[in-house]
Each structure stands twice: as C-alpha cells, then as structure tokens.
C-alpha cells in the first residue's frame, strides 16, 4: 500500500499511567488508511479509550509517536484539531442547554457560524430524527437521544478523521441502527472513521478493517472476513477473539 493513503500512522505508541505498574497500551504500531472504517475491538479495560484519547490529543503518550494527515499535536495542535472529530464515550453536552444551543456552541468552537452552521445543525438533527426535540433541554432526553446529539457535536465541521469511543454502548436498538447508518453515510462522503467497540457482531458488519485489542496489545489486525477465514473453525469475530485471547468476550 503506498504511504500516500495512510491517514493515521502510529509508531510504537505506548501509555503507562503515572503510578500504574503496567502499561495500559503497550508499544503498538499500525496505520489507518484514508476512507476506512477502522474498528478497535476488545473487552472493557483493553486500553481502547486510552489509545483513542492519545490520538485525540487528550492524553500525552508515555512513548512513541503518531501523525494524523501528516500533523502532530506537538506542532500546531489546532491545525490537527480542526480536521478531526471526536465523539467521547461519555455524553459531553450541557444538560441545561437545548440540543440546538449545545450544537451551536460546539460548532462555533470550530469557527463555524451564521447560516451555514444553522443549516448543518438542522440537517443533522433531521437525519437523526430529533427535529421535534431540537429546542428541548438535553436533560429531558433519553440515553439514545443524547448519544445522537453527542455524535452530531463531533461531525458538524465535516472532519477528515472521526474518532468514536463506543458510540453505541447502552443505546436502544433503534438509536443504534440510526447511528450506524448515519456513520456509514458520513464515511461514504469521505470521512475516515476510527471507532472502538466491544460489540463484535456490530463491528463485523460496519468495519472495513479491525484490530483486536486486549491487555494493551493488538492480537490481530485485518479485514473482518480475512480474520475469520484465517482462524480455523471460526464462524464470526467472536470466535476469532476467543481463539486469540483464550477467553470469551464479555458483552456488557
């Protein structure tokens, strides 16, 4: 694969929290190609959030380095922040503000304003089926509705790379489907997606490329079907995970 297509290039990236006795992410090296939906799959505590937090610039790595679209946080951090979108694992919204007010604020932090921003907010809310609730306060929303607004807040500026940390956890089936469909559409428009999940079935359908993570290590990496084919007697990713790590995946 030519280097040109690598939008994320990670080299020996590792994280050991201060005071911890082991690495939460052991030195890992991999890259993500432009246009991919890249899934980081693993159980709770595998190190997914730690890894993605470093990529989002929220956490300083202990060692190693990475580039996103040729940029680093050490250089002009805000140039990098402009091209990435982040959807955190926890809802990150002001509960007393309405969906529109929240999105207007976070959109303006990307320098968006005026009619463009208004239209982008209205369209996104419409696609995710929340138009009726747009001016209601977030603290009146259900978990699934909050997740959808949380997602919109990360994509208003049409990021080149979108990071999502367990965007479907604790969400009803309907919301989950809406979210996955929306992400597929965004991906088709050219956004590279890096997403974490401990839900193998969902990832099998959604991801073009996956890495199986446990205890801070990557156990295998490749296209979902290739991984299944390469593992004897595996019918799905769940089986691949079992045979690689010697344990069943707790599906919390």
């Amino acid at each position: 694969m030519p280097d040109l297509n690598k939008i994320i290039d990670i080299h020996e990236l590792a994280k050991k929290y201060k005071g911890a006795d082991h690495y939460s992410v052991n030195p890992i090296t991999f890259s993500v190609l432009e246009g991919e939906v890249f899934g980081l799959l693993g159980p709770n505590g595998a190190g997914k959030t730690t890894l993605i937090s470093m990529l989002c610039g929220l956490l300083d790595p202990t060692s190693g380095s990475f580039e996103i679209d040729g940029k680093t946080y050490g250089g002009n951090a805000s140039e990098l922040k402009k091209i990435i979108g982040v959807v955190p694992q926890e809802y990150a919204l002001y509960p007393t503000l309405s969906a529109t007010e929240n999105l207007n604020y976070f959109g303006s932090m990307y320098g968006l304003k005026g009619k463009d921003l208004k239209k982008k907010i209205a369209d996104s809310i419409e696609i995710l089926g929340l138009t009726k609730f747009a001016s209601k306060r977030i603290d009146t929303y259900s978990g699934g509705m909050k997740r959808r607004i949380n997602l919109i807040a990360g994509i208003l500026h049409n990021p080149k790379v979108l990071f999502l940390d367990e965007p479907t956890v604790g969400v009803d089936v309907h919301s989950k489907n809406v979210i996955i469909e929306y992400l597929k559409e965004i991906n088709q428009q050219g956004t590279t997606i890096v997403y974490t999940s401990h839900h193998m079935a969902e990832a099998e359908d959604f991801c073009s490329h996956i890495a199986i993570v446990d205890r801070g290590r990557i156990f295998a990496e490749g296209k979902p079907n290739d991984l299944i084919d390469a593992t004897p007697e595996a019918r799905n990713l769940e089986d691949v995970f079992l045979s690689l790590t010697g344990k069943a995946l707790r599906d919390a």
Binding site: S78, G111, K113
Partner: protein
C-alpha cells in the same frame, strides 16, 4: 473573537438556566449589607447602655474608695458589684469568681488606702512647707510614721483581651493620680489657711481630644457605610468563586470540558469567556450595592453613601477587584475534582480572606500583627483602593499600587490554573 463571544453567550445561557443560583448571587449580598449595617448601627446606638459588670472589694471605705466608685459610675462603662449572693465580697471570693470566668475583672482596694494616702501627703506637704520656713510651728510634732506603698490589686479573667487590660489599668492609674493630686491641692489649701475658697483649678489642665487625619477636609477613617458598601461588595464578588467553580467542576463531570479540549479553541478563549461573564456579574453586584448605599440606606435611617464624582474611579476599582475574584474562582474550579470539594473550600477560603482582609472588622481597628496579615488578602487591596477613592478622592495614580496587585493576583491565579491543567494531561 467569534469564539470568545460564543463562549460568553454560552456562559450567560447557562446562568439563565440556573435562575435560582443567579438570584442568590445578587440577593445574598443585598440582604447581607442591609442586615450588617442595621445591626452595626443599632450596636453603636446601644453601646452606651451596655455596662461591663466588674467586682470591687472595698477594704478602704474612705474618701479614696468613694472617689473610685463615683468615677467608675460616672464613666457608664461598668456596673460595680460589691456583693455576691447577698454577702459582701472578699478578696478571695472575688478572685474565685474572676478566675472561674464569671466576671472579667475584680478590683481590690487595700485597707487604709485613704488614711495612708492622706497621711503620706500631709507628711510631704509639711516637709516642703517647713523647708520653705512656712511650717505650722504651733502644730505638735508627731514622730514620723513609716508609710508603705499601697497596692490596688486587679484580678483579670485570663481570657480577656490585652487591650481591655491595658485600658482598665490606665484608667485606674489615672483615677488614682487625680485623687492624689486633688488631695495634695487640698493639703496645701488647708496648710496655707485658705480653706473654703478654692484657690486652685482642680480640673485636669491637660485634656485629650481625638483628631482623625483629614485630607481635603475629609476624614480618612471611613464611616460604617463607607466601609460596609465596598467591604460587602468585595465579599459578594469573591463569593462567585462558588458558582464559578461549580460551573467548571460540572464541565469536567459532564465531559464538556474534555470535548472542548478536542476542539480547536485555546484554553485562553474558554477561560476568557468565563472571566468576562463573571466579571459582568461582579460589576452588576457592585452597582446594586452602590444603589443600596445611595438610595436604600437613607430610607432605613442609615447614613447615605456619598458617591460624588468618583463614579469612574469606583468602577475601575470594582473591575480589578472582580478580575481578582474571577481568577480565584477559576483556580479553585480547576483544582477541585468535585462540587463537594469546591463549594466548601471556596466558601471557607472566601470567609477567611474576608476576615483577614478587613471586611468584618476594619483593618485600622485590628491589632498590629493582624494589620500585617491583612495585607495578604486581595480583598484588603480592593478595600484599600475603595477607601482611597471614597475618602481621599484618589485618582488612578493613587490606586495604582492596589489595582496592580489585584491584576497580578488575577494573572497569577490564571497562570497557575493553566499550568495545573497542562500537568493533568500528562497523567
């Protein structure tokens, strides 16, 4: 600029959604200042009637002890107690009552105080007149008796303040000196045979009058209103540390703080939005307090606040005080992890800063040591600057040291907050 404006808008929106909190923010200082000023005013008017009960044991029962009683009754400061449970006090019973904390002071007048004082004075006057050759030669010389020094004993409750002790001792000393000198005059009068017609002016020749320094005919010591309005405004301003730190702690627990860190916006803009918003609140608080001082106090029979032409300077001092308060709130909000940490810490620290800064007891009324400690409180800098403007008609040059300190405090708190934040990222 657009991001800053949007940040301010968001903070204002958040405040609007928390109307209860905003009302407390504005109502609390108003209630406080009116209540405190009314109470202080009432205390000043009443203080004439409040007498401190003290024990007095009169073993002398002569004209000196009578003078002491008269003098102390006239001063209206003390209520003299000579009996306990119907029994005349003795030195021992009085001492016990004081040391057990029931009374603050017992005065023991020794036996024969009057007689011995008189005898001593007579002896001395006699000696002096004889040496001038004016002695009363007809008088039968009695052999000179040795008269020892007399001691008036004072028993203090160990818990009383030093200043009370010194004041009482000075007063008694002065009282006895007066009695002594009066007796001396009387002795001379008698010996020189001019009894009946007072040939000496017996009133104190030297009197004291307290004069406060004045500048441009204005007293430098603030009156209750000139103290209370700025003092409680500063207190209210610094109290925004509570809503502001809660606002910041909430952003951490809501995850919005994390999201903002992934946005291409600098911490300076985010903090700037908070600073401007809470500074606006501080200024509104200040104008409301001024309005109370100017228009509400007269309605309550309190002296009105005289703002004269100092409005601009007062606003300037308020802005810098507000900056210091906001910086402090941002620092507490940055370091605190939970509301359970930030609210009690914020409240307690503001009360301590207010106390040492002279909000409750004005600094000029504090003991020397506390006056030095007071200089550590940013509220004291603000208060000093307000005094300067109210009492000395100060211009920018005169308040420059204080507002510079306030600005440095703001800059320092923000810098520490930013550094702390940066350090947190490398966990």
């Amino acid at each position: 600029m657009h991001k800053l404006w949007q940040s301010i808008r968001k903070e204002l929106l958040l405040l609007r959604r928390d109307i209860g909190g905003v009302i407390i923010l504005f109502a609390m200082p108003l209630v406080l200042i009116i209540a405190v000023t009314l109470i202080q005013n009432a205390a000043y008017q009443r203080s004439g009637d409040v007498r401190i009960p003290i024990l007095i044991v009169d073993n002398d029962k002569g004209n000196v002890s009578k003078s002491v009683f008269d003098n102390m009754n006239q001063s209206h400061a003390f209520e003299l107690i000579t009996k306990k449970e119907g029994v005349d006090l003795t030195e021992d019973s009085a001492k016990d009552a004081v040391f057990s904390g029931q009374y603050q002071l017992a005065i023991i007048l020794p036996q024969n105080l009057s007689a011995d004082l008189q005898a001593k004075i007579d002896q001395n006057v006699d000696k002096m007149l004889t040496s001038f050759g004016m002695g009363d030669s007809t008088k039968i010389k009695t052999p000179e008796r040795e008269i020892g020094q007399k001691t008036v004993k004072l028993y203090f409750d160990p818990a009383v303040q030093m200043s009370f002790k010194t004041a009482v001792m000075n007063n008694i000393d002065k009282m006895i000196s007066q009695i002594e000198s009066k007796s001396i005059y009387d002795a001379f009068n008698e010996q020189l045979g001019a009894a009946g017609q007072p040939s000496f002016e017996q009133k104190s020749f030297i009197a004291f009058k307290e004069i406060n320094p004045t500048v441009n005919n204005k007293e430098v010591k603030p009156n209750a209103v000139q103290h209370n309005v700025p003092a409680w405004t500063l207190f209210a301003m610094f109290f925004i540390v509570i809503p502001l730190s809660i606002n910041m702690v909430k952003e951490k627990s809501q995850g919005t703080f994390i999201r903002l860190r992934t946005n291409p916006v600098s911490s300076a803009v985010v903090i700037g939005g908070k600073t401007v918003t809470y500074l606006i609140i501080c200024i509104i608080q200040f104008y409301m307090m001024l309005a109370v001082g100017i228009w509400v106090f007269p309605l309550l029979d309190l002296p009105a606040l005289n703002v004269d032409a100092n409005f601009f300077m007062l606003t300037l001092v308020a802005v810098f005080s507000g900056l210091a308060a906001t910086g402090y709130g941002i620092l507490v909000g940055t370091i605190a992890k939970t509301q359970e940490q930030s609210a009690p810490f914020g409240a307690t620290s503001v009360i301590i800063l207010a106390a040492i800064g002279g909000v409750w007891v004005p600094v000029f009324a504090m003991p020397k040591f506390m006056q030095i400690v007071a200089m550590c409180s940013p509220m004291n800098w603000g208060l000093d600057a307000f005094y300067d403007v109210f009492l000395r008609n100060a211009g920018i040059r005169e308040v420059l040291p204080e507002i510079s300190l306030l600005f440095l405090f703001f800059a320092a708190t923000i810098t520490i907050a930013l550094l702390y934040d940066k350090k947190k990222r490398s966990v």
